[in-house]
């Protein structure tokens, strides 16, 4: 698995330390503040949401147990499939950044490259920027009338769309920003994987007369596969949780009429739970998001195990 390549185990692994003798009440003093908070604000809410998903909420408060009614309604709701489709579209576009990240990371890891840390900072900057703050300038860049993107497109003879207020294009615009903001993170993870490829392999390839592109294809890519896979999974799971960037770029349903056609899974959840105040229905959506992400994670876990044994 990835961590093996990134953090090579120490020569003599210091075995699992023996636990100290029983310490009476001390361990409880150490864990109880955290456990109390985790129980009240995380564990209980998880159970409660699972229950909420089986209830229907009245407009004026109060809820009644309605069994699987929310799920039945959800699976017949075209908005769910719209949200799922939009989320997949977003994920697909952001995933295009992974090959780009491999390319940039391998260039950035060129031995002896000057200004490498300067480049690294540039590429990582979007990842640490506040999504709502940076989205403000992207809204101007994407503006249909005076945005610089459409200005550049006009330069090559293309009439750009109203990105933020056209269904379809709105999601593409959000995904472009998503790609832009996650590229640096992928590059760092891939860069750590690249550092662990033994230099001897490149030297051997060079002796065999392999050109840089051939070296990249025959040495870098195969040895980097676990890291690439890890980045793919992280990107997919992250993309399925899309909300901040989308809300920040497209705004709320009150200000942007395109929202109902551009829902992502989490935006759909937010809209039902906190705009329409249909908390039982929103809880069911949350459970669906949970299941979808759980499936992706399990696939990752199984494939990763396979990688370790085949190593």
């Amino acid at each position: 698995m990835t961590t093996e390549t990134l953090h090579p185990p120490k020569a003599a692994a210091p075995g699992r330390p023996k636990l100290l003798k029983r310490d009476g009440a001390w361990p409880w003093l150490f864990v109880s503040p955290l456990l109390l908070g985790i129980a009240v604000f995380f564990l209980w809410p998880i159970i409660q949401t699972a229950y909420f998903s089986l209830t229907t909420w009245g407009v004026f408060g109060g809820s009644t147990f309605t069994g699987v009614a929310n799920y039945v309604r959800l699976f017949a709701d075209p908005q769910l499939y719209l949200a799922l489709g939009n989320t997949l579209l977003y994920t697909g576009i952001v995933l295009l950044g992974v090959p780009l990240a491999v390319w940039f990371a391998s260039l950035l890891n060129t031995p002896g490259l000057r200004f490498a840390s300067f480049y690294r900072v540039l590429f990582f900057l979007p990842y640490v920027a506040m999504p709502t703050a940076i989205a403000m300038v992207w809204r101007i860049i994407f503006n249909g009338d005076f945005g610089i993107l459409n200005y550049l497109l006009r330069g090559i003879g293309i009439q750009g769309p109203y990105w933020i207020s056209t269904p379809g294009f709105a999601m593409v615009a959000v995904a472009i920003v998503g790609l832009w903001s996650s590229l640096g993170f992928s590059m760092i993870i891939l860069g750590a994987g690249l550092k662990n490829i033994p230099a001897e392999l490149y030297e051997a390839a060079e002796l065999d007369g392999a050109k840089p592109w051939r070296q990249f294809r025959s040495v870098t890519v195969p040895l980097l596969t676990p890291s690439i896979f890890f980045v793919l999974i992280i990107t997919i799971i992250g993309s399925f949780q899309l909300f901040d960037l989308q809300y920040a770029i497209l705004g709320s349903p009150a200000t942007n009429p395109v929202i109902p056609r551009s829902l992502s899974l989490v935006y759909f959840f937010y809209q039902q739970g906190f705009v329409s105040n249909d908390k039982g229905y929103a809880a069911a959506i949350a459970m669906i998001i949970f299941v979808v992400i759980g499936i992706v994670t399990l696939v990752q876990f199984r494939l990763q195990k396979k990688w370790v044994s085949n190593d």
């Binding site: 604000f41 506040m130 200005y151």
Partner: protein, 323 residues
């Protein structure tokens, strides 16, 4: 950033070393050490050897990374330029690549027309308190889970780690109900409350303590120190690299997050900056340049922290993403 790190946390929980002994325990990055292999003398040697042979490829790398880096930095540069322009310049169909006159007054307008200072204060308060609380609670619990024997330890640890696998939407509704029930909507306490506790932080700190040598701890015990003194005086200083990672991830997450403040604060004066800026989306009454200036000011503290700490932030985030 929150998304990726959350995703990474999920996968981290599944590959917890205790739950799966085949996984190697992670080693936190220490000061001065880059992620993975150190770029010591062998790297320099290699560079020398290959540098001559592949001089051309450096030029290609500089061109590609230069263009890529410019595109990455462009929105920030554009934002700076727009923040110093007039509203008419921002909205002109032919872009003004440089304002006719630098409009520094836009920055003053931010403080005059927006509740910026209130929101800044809220952001700072919740971020500082959450970070301190997470460091305290997570190191304490992480230490106990790693180093102490007590009844129910395994099951409680499993419960805490199981949270890492659950996307935040699943607990959001109920957290909102709780905060509403306590009458804490639109308050600082309500804003920071669930974020004081972190399953990820506990996992991170437990891993850090698991990897520490036992001798120091035993020596301190023999000298008659009680468990808290051992923790505070001996073990906590050793955990500094992981505490840095926790601090960096918590600051970034708390400063930038949007969904929670959006649902628990409805009054723009009680919002942190992330949600406060969101209220300006599509607001036709505010000047674009002023919004740009406000956004830059809102991002500035975190961006400055990143530029000053660079390597440590990158390694810390990559590390928290990996494990």
């Amino acid at each position: 950033m929150t998304n990726n790190v959350a995703a990474a946390r999920t996968s981290a929980a599944l590959s917890d070393p205790e739950l799966d002994p085949s996984m190697p325990a992670p080693v936190p990055p220490t000061k001065g050490q880059t992620t993975g292999r150190s770029q010591g003398s062998d790297a320099r040697l290699r560079a020398k050897r290959r540098g001559r042979a592949r001089h051309g490829s450096h030029a290609v790398a500089h061109v590609v990374l230069g263009v890529g880096g410019f595109i990455m930095a462009f929105p920030f540069l554009w934002q700076i330029i727009m923040s110093l322009s007039t509203n008419a310049e921002v909205q002109s169909v032919t872009p003004h690549f440089w304002p006719a006159e630098l409009q520094w007054s836009n920055y003053a307008t931010v403080f005059e027309t927006l509740p910026f200072l209130d929101q800044l204060r809220t952001s700072i308060l919740i971020t500082v308190i959450r970070t301190v609380a997470q460091i305290l609670l997570c190191t304490l619990a992480g230490y106990a889970f790693a180093r102490m024997a007590f009844k129910g330890r395994a099951i409680m640890l499993a419960l805490v780690l199981s949270i890492l696998m659950v996307p935040s939407q699943v607990y959001l509704i109920s957290q909102y109900q709780l905060v509403q029930g306590f009458g804490l909507l639109n308050t600082i306490v309500g804003l920071m409350l669930p974020g004081l506790f972190s399953a990820f932080g506990t996992f991170l700190m437990r891993t850090a303590f698991l990897n520490m040598p036992q001798e120091l701890e035993e020596a301190a015990r023999l000298d008659g120190a009680n468990p808290f003194q051992v923790f505070w005086k001996v073990m906590l200083p050793l955990a500094k690299p992981s505490i840095n990672v926790l601090a960096i991830t918590t600051v970034l997450w708390s400063w930038n997050e949007l969904l929670w403040p959006l649902v628990v604060s409805t009054n723009s004066r009680s919002m942190p900056l992330s949600a406060g800026l969101a209220t300006l989306i599509g607001d036709k009454t505010t000047d674009y340049p002023v919004v740009m200036a406000a956004s830059l000011l809102a991002m500035a503290p975190v961006l400055i922290m990143f530029i000053v700490l660079q390597r440590r932030v990158i390694d810390g985030l990559a590390f928290s993403g990996l494990k």
